[in-house]
């Protein structure tokens, strides 16, 4: 089955809400999701309870929710206190309807700098968390929420967005996401939708071609036929190894001591979210990189992986240091995606967190929530020209990641480009083939957001 983007959007409302088209196929290509355990409403919005863990190739793999959507919006009211009550009422209503698990609906409301600057500038000046580590490095007070930047491997025209708010919706049941979208945004007089981004992720690693492969084939994306049958993501390798995802509270502002939470600790239990859209050149990936080169590129040059394996162990003991990445570069002239990022994304030493939890050396800090997409680059945009909306589906990734600060994400992303935490800049050209995945990735949009704790998720600081 092959659908064009135009077919996929038939019936779309002018707001874009309800235009799920192509992604309806996800339900047709997967069996009914297993019922997952009931979940708790945690103080953190970004944590989703009830995630299952399965094993592939002897590696524990977190099973993410099947369907994802991110809706960005602008605040279109001056009555923030009223808007706060209205949004909170809707969110509480959704919580009553759906458990905060993949079987129900995960809702994460994240706020961008434009919101804080335009609507609550005084309160933000006082209460936005300060990144102590970045402030030391830059010798000036640096907010934990900073404007997004273009990285060395980004195209010169990567759009740095300025949305007020982004809402991440996650569920195994597409109807729950659609219901969430409708209740939050349809007819809203407080939030005006600016973009809708959709996608999916999942593989049972067992029965025939995976969802990623079948969706890419259905969309007629170049290179789709060469996606491995077990692939969770379009680029083939599993991404949600349990050991490669930050454990529960590690990305909270307060956990690792990276942040000064300010006089009232307003954003305690909050975190930072980076959102970007990345095009993936699957034909190049599968036709000009052979399996070993894909392993070298995705993980580490020379890593021995049995042909056909998609899930590779990335435990704390296997985490690479900056010195190891540099040595590898000097030997092979290339760096792997995972290992280069691990030089900044994994703990360099054991850390005792604010609550007494000991996080061991090599533990991952970022909590990724990225998902496959066939959006080009979005499912819908209020500014199709600015966002360079295209008709045919395109393989890509909506990259969602929770880090303790904007600077923490920046460090990880720079390491991916060969800029190591000690300042060493490995000599790569832009999107060099030897520089991890960069030769086959192209980032179209970026923005940073702050994810308040659940208690302050609706129009944060507006009540002060």
């Amino acid at each position: 089955m092959r659908l064009t983007r135009r077919q996929a959007l038939v019936g779309a409302a002018t707001s874009g809400l309800g235009a799920v088209g192509l992604y309806e196929l996800v339900d047709r290509l997967t069996s009914s999701p297993a019922t997952r355990s009931q979940g708790r409403l945690l103080p953190e919005q970004h944590l989703l309870d009830g995630l299952a863990v399965m094993r592939d190739n002897g590696v524990a793999v977190v099973v993410p929710p099947l369907h994802h959507a991110v809706i960005t919006a602008q605040v279109v009211t001056g009555n923030l206190r009223g808007a706060r009550l209205e949004l909170e009422e809707t969110l509480v209503d959704l919580e009553r309807r759906y458990a905060p698990t993949p079987a129900g609906l995960g809702v994460t409301v994240a706020w961008g700098l434009p919101y804080f600057r335009r609507h609550v500038p005084k309160q933000a000046h006082l209460h936005l968390p300060v990144d102590l580590r970045a402030s030391r490095t830059e010798s000036r007070t640096t907010s934990a929420l900073a404007d997004a930047m273009r990285f060395p491997s980004d195209p010169v025209d990567t759009i740095l967005e300025a949305n007020d708010v982004a809402v991440l919706l996650r569920s195994d049941v597409r109807a729950h996401i659609e219901d969430g979208e409708r209740r939050l945004f349809r007819g809203s007089s407080i939030l005006h939708v600016t973009s809708i981004r959709r996608g999916f992720v999942g593989s049972d690693f067992r029965s025939g071609p995976s969802l990623a492969k079948r969706m890419a084939q259905a969309a007629g994306v170049d290179g789709a036929e060469l996606i491995p049958d077990d692939a969770q993501l379009f680029l083939g390798f599993t991404s949600t190894q349990q050991a490669a995802l930050g454990p529960r509270r590690i990305a909270n502002f307060e956990t690792l001591g990276y942040v000064d939470l300010g006089p009232r600790g307003y954003f305690l239990n909050g975190t930072h979210m980076h959102l970007s859209h990345v095009f993936e050149d699957l034909a190049s990936w599968y036709q000009t990189f052979d399996f070993q080169e894909r392993v070298d590129t995705a993980f580490k040059p020379g890593l021995e992986v049995k042909p056909g394996v998609v899930t590779v162990s990335e435990g704390p003991a296997e985490a690479a240091s900056a010195a190891a990445v540099r040595r590898g570069f000097n030997r092979d002239g290339r760096i792997g995606h995972s290992t280069s990022i691990q030089s900044t994304s994994r703990l360099e030493r054991d850390v005792v967190a604010d609550d007494g939890t000991v996080y061991k050396r090599g533990t991952a800090v970022p909590q990724r929530a990225d998902f496959n997409t066939l959006d080009n680059p979005f499912a819908w945009s209020t500014s199709p020209e600015r966002d360079r909306m295209q008709d045919p589906p395109a393989a890509g990734l909506h990259f969602v990641v929770f880090n303790p600060t904007s600077d923490d994400f920046r460090r990880n992303r720079l390491a991916m480009d060969g800029v190591l935490p000690d300042g060493t800049r490995l000599p790569f050209g832009a999107r060099d083939r030897n520089q991890g995945f960069n030769a086959v990735l192209s980032t179209s949009h970026r923005q940073n957001f702050l994810v308040p704790p659940r208690r302050h998720r609706s129009f944060p600081l507006a009540e002060l």
């Binding site: 060469l226 034909a283 599968y286 036709q287 000009t288 052979d290 399996f291 080169e293 030897n434």
Partner: protein, 196 residues
């Protein structure tokens, strides 16, 4: 996809009016190199003093006439290995590009220089199973080097020599269509021995 599934698909897509694979093989055996193309292929076989495979079917719009309107070069190395290439290209429409190779007296996959790093790498890589066309059992490779980069390539061994055909995955043809083209080419290859 398992080799068995590939083989089944192959039989399905290459039926082309044949009632079964046995008949297809018989038809292939009965075929000969088209008269208009035979001269070039015979000359090549004579030049390298080894058999070469003449295609009797080519993807539209190509023909396989060496030196003809779609010829994109014929090269023979000192070790007698050869590359014969055919191409149709139209700006805005795409290209159809087919390579035929032979390595007389050797069966190992040759080594190429990586285009970016110059490091030695196998010229044909990422095997995706085997399939049969006529009396040839070919292995499918999807990540290839040099003139076969971006091509799907089928390679097989015969009497101590390695042979290969490949086609560029490029509009107007999709990956699936290129695979169908290669299957049909493979089934319709004819061996042209060297004249002593």
């Amino acid at each position: 996809m398992t080799p068995v599934v590939l083989l089944l698909l192959f039989v399905l897509v290459t039926g082309c009016g044949s009632t079964n694979a046995g008949n297809a093989a018989a038809e292939a055996a009965a075929r000969s190199c088209p008269a208009a193309w035979r001269g070039g292929w015979q000359a090549l076989a004579n030049r390298i003093q080894a058999p070469v495979y003449c295609p009797t079917w080519m993807p539209d719009p190509l023909d396989a006439r060496i030196g003809g309107k779609y010829a994109n070069g014929e090269s023979v190395s000192r070790d007698r290995s050869y590359l014969v290439s055919f191409i149709w290209r139209e700006p805005g429409s795409g290209e159809v590009h087919v390579n035929l190779r032979g390595y007389p007296g050797r069966t190992r996959i040759p080594t190429c220089s990586d285009l970016d790093t110059d490091k030695p790498v196998p010229c044909f890589s990422d095997p995706k199973g085997s399939l049969r066309g006529g009396d040839i059992v070919a292995r499918v490779y999807t990540a290839n080097q040099g003139a076969d980069q971006w091509h799907v390539l089928y390679a097989w061994r015969r009497s101590g020599s390695l042979y290969a055909i490949s086609e560029h995955v490029s509009p107007p043809y999709t990956y699936a269509r290129v695979v169908r083209n290669l299957n049909r080419m493979l089934t319709n290859l004819v061996l042209v021995p060297a004249n002593s």
